[in-house]
Structure formats: C-alpha cells, structure tokens
Symmetry: C2
Subunit: 524 residues, 2 copies
C-alpha cells in the first residue's frame, strides 16, 4: 500500500512538464490568496506572468512571477480614495434611502473602474500581441471580473477560475449547478439554509431579481466582451467556458448545496501556515498574562471609524481583562483603555493561531472568518458591506460567534458580546468542532489547487467535466418541451376517447330512439 500512499506525493513532486501560466487577478484579499498558489506553482518550475493595471494596490512584483502592467485611465490614489469613501459609507447615519442610493453609486463606480481597466487591457495592442505570441497553457483568473475569460476565449486558452463566489450566483449558473432557492439562501438575504415560509418567499424574490440586477451591473462588461469577441455574449455564457472552478469555500462554513464535478473546494487555502510572531507582537501577547489577547481588525479597507463610534468601541474593550490588539490606522480615541494596543498592521493568522488568543473581533470578510475557523477562535462579527452580513450569519448560526449591527451597537452591546464569546464555553466548543472538521481533509487545499491548475495545463482543459446541460436551452433543461408534448398527447388521447364515447353514445341513443320510434310507429 506504500505505493498508494506515495501516489499523492509522487504526483505532486513530478509534474509532467513545466508550463506557462497567464494570471489575470483581482485586487485586495482575492489577490493575496491567489498569490500563494502562484508561489507554489513557480516552485514547481512553471513560468508565470501576472498582468495587472499600473494603478494596482496590492499586486506586486516577485521572484516567483513576472508582472506586466498596462496603463488605465485612473490613478492608484483614485482607487484608494474610492475604497475609503465606500468603507466610510458603512458608518454613515444618513437615512436608509440616501445611503442606499450612495452605495449603489459606489458599486456603479467600482464596476466602471473594473470595466475601464479591462477595456484598457483588451485594447492594449502590445500586451495582447505578447499574450498571443506567448502560447500560454492556461489562464488563471478571478472571474468576478470576466476580463481573463474574455482573453481566454479570444486566444482559445483553457482557463481555471479562482474565486469564492460571483455576485448573483453567476458562477453557479455558469457551471450549470442547480441552486433551489428553497434552501440555498441568496447573497444579501442574511438567511440560513433553514428558512420560514416568509423567508423562502423573500429568498425566491431575491433569486428572481438577481437575473435583472446583475444583468444591469454586468451590462458594461457584456457590451465590452461582445464588441471584443464580435459575437453577443452574456456574463454567464462567458464564464460557462471555464475548465475548473477552484472555489475558496468549505462546507463547514457554507451550507451544503448541489455542486458540479468541475468545482474543486479549497476553502481555507490561505490559512494554516503559521509563522512565529515578531518580537514586538510576541512581547504584547506574553504580557497579556493568563487572560490572553483579543485580535481586532475590520480589514484593510477600513482606515478610519467616526470618533463617536471609535470611543464607544474603546469603552467596551476596556471592560474585558484581555489585552486587545486593534489594527487601526485612524486617530486614536481619547478614552483608549490601557488594555488596548493600537497597531497599524497585525499578523492576523499568526496571532489567531497563538494559544493565548481568546476572541476575534472581525468585519466578517471570508478570509478572516476562515482564519478564525482554521485557528478555532470564537468571533464577534461587525459586518460592514458585501457578503459580510451573510458570513456573519453563517458563523452565528453555527454557534461560533455573535453578530453586532455596526450602526446600532452600543458600548454595552459590544462588551456583552465580547464577554460572551470569551467566557461562555459553547462558543469555543463550537468553533473548535468546526475547526476540527475543516482541518480534517485528505489533501491540503493548496496542493489541490496546484494539482488542478496543472491538470488543465497537462490536458489542455477538462472537457470530461463539462456537463451536457451547456448544450440545452432553459426550456429543454427543465424538460418543459417534453412535459408540454406529453400533456398534449394525454389531452389528445382524452379528447379522442371522449369523442369516440360521444359518437358511440349518439349512435346507441339514435338507434334506440329510432327503434323506439319504429316500435311506436308499428304500435300505432
């Protein structure tokens, strides 16, 4: 059996041959976990070229890959400013409709920036010529922006997607995965997989509205793709050509739902490789004594919190005996208690992995939540935007944390929630159970991701995983034409039987009538 035991090893250590990858990534935390896969692929001898806009925020150069940038019609500062204003909107106390309108504007602006970036790439003749001449074996891309897939289709290069999800479940539809709204809560619904009747009604309506709202949101991309590929394409059609979907999800955190064979689950890929803490952080953690520490970060997008809110938070943090390490770049609140240490940056995963860490206050971004699960740290969640409300609900529904409404929470709410997750054993037990399940896997997600990228390179795609559903239209897929045909046959059969019966009856009665008349006539 040693051979069988060695197989995963042999398979990973001896790639069939080094290949060439073109990477078209997304910004932010998406890039950070994708980068881990690139480093691993590079170590295995593959040549990697990352293509990114020149105004990129996080996408860096490295010895592991070559980075090629292209000019875009906005500056890095514009992007930073846009991100900060979007984040600041989360703390706005303006009326709901005003906020909703402004948030919609923010999303539109984000979309316009991504589309402009994509257009700049597609019409950058030099870069496109380089891509065409380079004969890449695979395009490794984040499908939240379909730019990579447009290029994949243009040059007929197989693609591997790296994502958690695409808004409006476009990823699910593009992979032909069924997603009954009866038990799969939609994004932004903030429901669990067990819904009441009224929740199911709302979830159904959200599912219905998704196709409209997303077709509006992605319309500029669809226009651009149709123009560039010279044939009309929708976002779903574009993404339906992906060979393999590397999905950063795990069913410890996500609700179990139907999936497709082309989907590979690599949730928690970025977590688990713990490095020792720097002297500065090690000292802070050790100084916390028996009470340990609380890690607090609202993510890299939030640089500042309104002072009133910051003071409320600071007041609450002072009520626990733990040392709180708060990642915060804004102005320090004047009432900052002694047990709270403000830091400009913190090694989140390494701190969460420390045995002295008692709780994690997070905005509920999926990366942070997976780090919390991976390291079994109970959470207090303060979701801000996007999928964070849904993530918070998932953690809370599993009894592994408590959620606070960032706009409405008081100092007392924060204090109560924090004390609960630290002192009530059930939160630690639940997150430990989730963590045990999450980490008990036959192969590390990073190795799985590397395998499937190489698989697509070796076999020039994965056509054997492509379901025949792609060749059916909506009516055919749901067998509506078959049902209509069978209904017509049944109705016709009934109609003919009815007519026959009627005819028989008539003949019978006519005969009787005639016989009776004849009899009457005779008797007269």
């Amino acid at each position: 059996m040693l051979v069988a035991l060695l197989l995963p090893f042999l398979c990973l250590l001896s790639p069939a041959g080094a290949g060439k990858l073109l990477v078209i990534p997304m910004e932010g935390s998406h890039w950070l976990s994708m980068r881990k896969v690139l480093v691993e692929l590079s170590k295995r001898g593959h040549e990697i070229v990352v293509v990114a806009p020149d105004s990129t925020l996080l996408i860096d150069s490295s010895d592991f890959y070559k980075t090629k940038t292209y000019p875009v019609p906005f500056k890095k500062e514009d992007m930073e400013e846009h991100i900060h204003s979007t984040a600041a909107r989360c703390f706005s106390q303006e009326p709901f409709l005003v906020r909703f309108w402004k948030v919609l504007g923010d999303y539109r602006k984000s979309g316009a920036m991504f589309q402009a970036s994509c257009k700049s790439l597609l019409y950058n003749q030099e870069l496109m010529k380089y891509i065409g001449d380079s004969h890449f074996d695979v395009i490794f891309t984040d499908p939240v922006s379909p730019c990579g897939q447009i290029i994949a289709l243009h040059f007929s290069i197989p693609s591997v997607f790296f994502l958690r999800m695409v808004p409006c479940a476009i990823d699910v539809h593009a992979a032909q995965s069924p997603d009954p709204p009866s038990y799969i809560p939609r994004m932004f619904s903030v429901y669990t997989d067990h819904m009441t009747f009224s929740e199911r009604v709302k979830n159904f309506l959200i599912a219905l509205s998704e196709s409209f709202s997303c077709s509006i949101a992605y319309a500029p991309f669809e226009e651009l793709a149709s123009e560039f590929l010279q044939k009309p394409v929708t976002m779903t059609e574009l993404l339906s050509h992906g060979s393999v979907w590397l999905k950063r999800i795990d069913f410890v955190f996500e609700y179990p739902m139907p999936v497709m064979p082309s989907m590979v689950f690599i949730g928690g890929i970025h977590c688990g490789q713990k490095k020792p803490l720097s002297q500065e952080f090690e000292a802070m953690v050790n100084a916390s004594g028996e009470h340990g520490v609380v890690v607090f970060s609202l993510g890299s997008m939030v640089s500042e919190i309104p002072m009133k809110k910051a003071m409320e938070i600071a007041e609450a943090l002072g009520t626990v005996p733990q040392t709180v390490l708060w990642r915060y770049t804004g102005k320090a609140p004047p009432n900052l208690p002694k047990n709270v240490k403000l830091v400009k940056w913190l090694p989140q995963n390494d701190l969460l992995a420390h045995p002295k860490t008692r709780a994690f206050i997070t905005h509920g971004g999926s990366h942070g939540v997976y780090e919390g699960i991976c390291n079994a740290v109970p959470m207090v969640l303060m979701p801000l935007f996007g999928d964070q409300m849904d993530n918070a609900k998932r953690v809370e529904s599993r009894g592994a944390g408590l959620t606070l409404n960032i706009l409405e929470m008081t100092s007392n709410d924060i204090s109560t929630a924090l004390k609960a997750v630290i002192n009530d054993k059930k939160y630690k037990e639940n997150i430990q159970r989730l963590s045990d399940l999450h980490l008990d896997r036959p192969i590390h997600p990073l190795d799985l991701a590397v395998h499937w990228v190489e698989f697509v390179m070796r076999h020039k795609g994965a056509p054997h995983l492509r379901p025949a559903a792609h060749d059916l239209n909506w009516v055919q897929y749901h067998s509506l034409d078959v049902i209509a045909f069978l209904a017509a046959v049944v109705l016709l059969a009934f109609f003919i039987s009815f007519k026959c019966c009627l005819c028989c009856c008539r003949r019978c009665f006519c005969k009787k009538g005639r016989t009776r008349k004849a009899a009457k006539a005779k008797s007269h």
Copy 2:
C-alpha cells in the same frame, strides 16, 4: 511548503485513534473492491467485523477482519443455481415478452433472497445483541441492500456507503442531488448525455416510471424496515441518513451531473496495483509475439455459453493474429482455434496492465470497464444484463470501444469489431486519453475512501455535509407553495385593480349618464 506537501501523508499515517467498524457488504464484485478498503483500514489498526450470511459466495475470512455469519433460509448452492440461471437467460432466444417475464421473475427472486437474508440478520437475537454491545464507531455498508442502514438507524451508528449506484437513482434522491432527466440518461435507457427530443421524452418517462417500479421492487425491504424500526420508512428515507457516499464512479466514464458535498468519488479504486503475472500467464503472453494478446472474460457470473454461440465466438477469435486468453468454464467449442487459450480463471487487471495486451472483450461490468480504462485497453463490449448496456454505451460514446448485441451478433460482427479496436488507432488513442485523465488525480481513491471512513469515525458522522433539503417536502423543495402564494398575490392585486377600475368607470359613466339624463330632462 513541505508541511503542506506532507499534510496528506501525516493525515494518512497518523489516525486520531483506532476504531471499530461493522461491515455489512454485498456479494460478488461489490465485495471484492470493498475488501480492498477493509484491508487498508485494518493495516491502520482498526478492528473490523464483517457480518455475512452463512451461504455467502465470495465473502471470506481473513486476518484483516473477523467474519461473523448468520443462518439464512437458503443454501449457497441455491444462490449459485439462481445466478447461473439468471446468466443463462441472457443467451435465451425465447420471444421478448417471455424473456422479459422470466427476467422479472429472476429479479424478484434476487430481491426475495436479499430480503430473506436481511430478515434473518435483523431477527438474529444473538448477533444483534453482539452488535448492540460492541459500540461500533461506523457501519460500512453497500446500500443496494439497505440492511446495513436499518441496523445503523436501529443502533444510532453513523454509516458510510460504498456503492456505484442504487437502482432507480434512489442514491441520488436520498442524497438530495438534483438529476434533471434532460441530460442525465436513466439506467437501462442506453442513452448518452446528448439526447434527441424523442430520447428525452423516453428518458423522462423512464424517470417517471422509476419511482413506481422501484417502490414495488423495494416494497419488501420497506415493509421489513418499517416493522423493525417501528415507524413507516421508505427506501429513500432510509438511505437519506448515510453520512458519506463513497461512489465508485469517475467522470471520465460517467456523464458529468450535479453531485452533493457528501459524495466522494473513488472510481477505479480496485485498479492500478499491478502484480507480476504467474509463470503460466507470463509464458502465454510472451509466446504471443509481436501481435500480443486479447483478454476475454464475460465475468464470473457466466459459466457457460450456448454451444452455437460459443462456436461463433471461437470462429471469430480465430480470425485475429493475437493470442486470445478466454476465461471460460463451460465445454470448449470443438472449433477452438489454436490462438485461443481457454482458462478457468485469469488475473484480469494484471493481464490488462501488460504492454502486450491489445484489446479486452468484456461483458461491460463496471469493474472490468474501469480496469480497461485504467490500463488503457480498447474494448469490445458484449453486455448481458443490468447496467452493462449503459456501461457499453458510455465506452462506445467516448470512442474507446465497440458494442455488440450478444443475441444478434454473428461471427463476422465479432471479428470486424475486434479487428477494428485492435488496428484502428483512434480506439487506442481515445482509451489512452481517458486513462490519462482517470489516473491524473491528486490522491489515490483508496486513500480517499480510507480518509472518509475514518473521518466519519472521528467525528461521529458528517452532519455538516447534510443539506437542509432533507427537512423540506417535495412541494417546499420545488418552491411550489411560494409560487402559488406569489401567483395568488399577483392575481388578487390584478383583481382588486380591475374592480377599482370598473368601479371608477361605472361612477364616471353613471355620472355622465345621470348628467346627460338630467340635461335631456332640462331640454324637454
């Protein structure tokens, strides 16, 4: 990265602790591949108890597991006789309806035998007391007979299923996996995943009929389970409680379709561990010269073929220059050519793995087909019964073999097909492509199976993989109540709007009418 690379290894080499497995297997080839998993689990220190009827055909004793038998109301000879008469029916030239009726009788008899065996186990007080007292961590069972799952529910032991499929897609429904009949061909349909309209109609009708036909076929089991568990249960309900489904399928061979997170795919688990050939077979293969050999086996169930058919086959085999190794226990046909060697048994996988093997003549049992794919040997398929017709269609649709109708094939047909798969390069190229895809996996299926059995033992099940769909009824799952409610709301809104309009119009017209009347009255 070495840690990440080592993880699968560490995970496999250091189980959390040895556990106790109760195994309730199925007969035949099902048992042979299940046995491989048991041997591996035993090597990892687990205590394994196999429970089987005393009239078992293949389930043996071993150093790797303890076997406990129970008396059943039929003998081993009865079972052998039943299998042989079922197999012989495949060659019967009787009219279709007569054959169909007899085959139905055979299936009924098989069902009755399994049910009788199950009843004997469930009401064997001594054995049931032993199971109850032994505190097993998991029940590892083949769900084609739900006996293991009945015991699992009775003693609240988590269960792991080991199967390729359950008739009528009961496994698919029990796991809550969607299976649209528009592109998923039903068992016995002999369709591919690309169907014409008329094929889709037939496939839809087969899917419709399955629920009726299988509820009749499994009715005795459902009755037995309901009586034993003292609550009414269906076969689907019974199997819905399985923790993990280890499915012996691979999408190189099966058509891609929606699956569930609780399904783990271990197709080809029994294949790939090649042992050197015995002296006898090595000599035969070496003597074949440059032309190589053809491996021919119709499986262990077929012991004899009608002499006329055997002579036709023998005649055809004489037309190829290859040496044919034919596994056949019946009377040798008098026209047996020199290049055909009859053997009572042959090491199928090891022979297929030999580089001199040119083709494989098989009945299309899934085990044999996976061995053919695994070793990249093109096939001539002579399906006999069960899923073999569908398997043959799958191989043929991928251009990796040719199918013959065992009743209608002539000597010439066999010869032509055999020569084609040997000499036409496309068959070898296609099977080689399938083989390359099949063997390119991140972890060996045997290690995957071992991991998931141990996972269920470690975590006392896998509740995080259980979809919430289990808690919905058919109407709720398909959102029919939600659609009806929304339709009612829309209709009511229309009705009220219509009534309001009508009311307004009436008032308007009445007023005008009255005004006009008043005006007329004045003018008079």
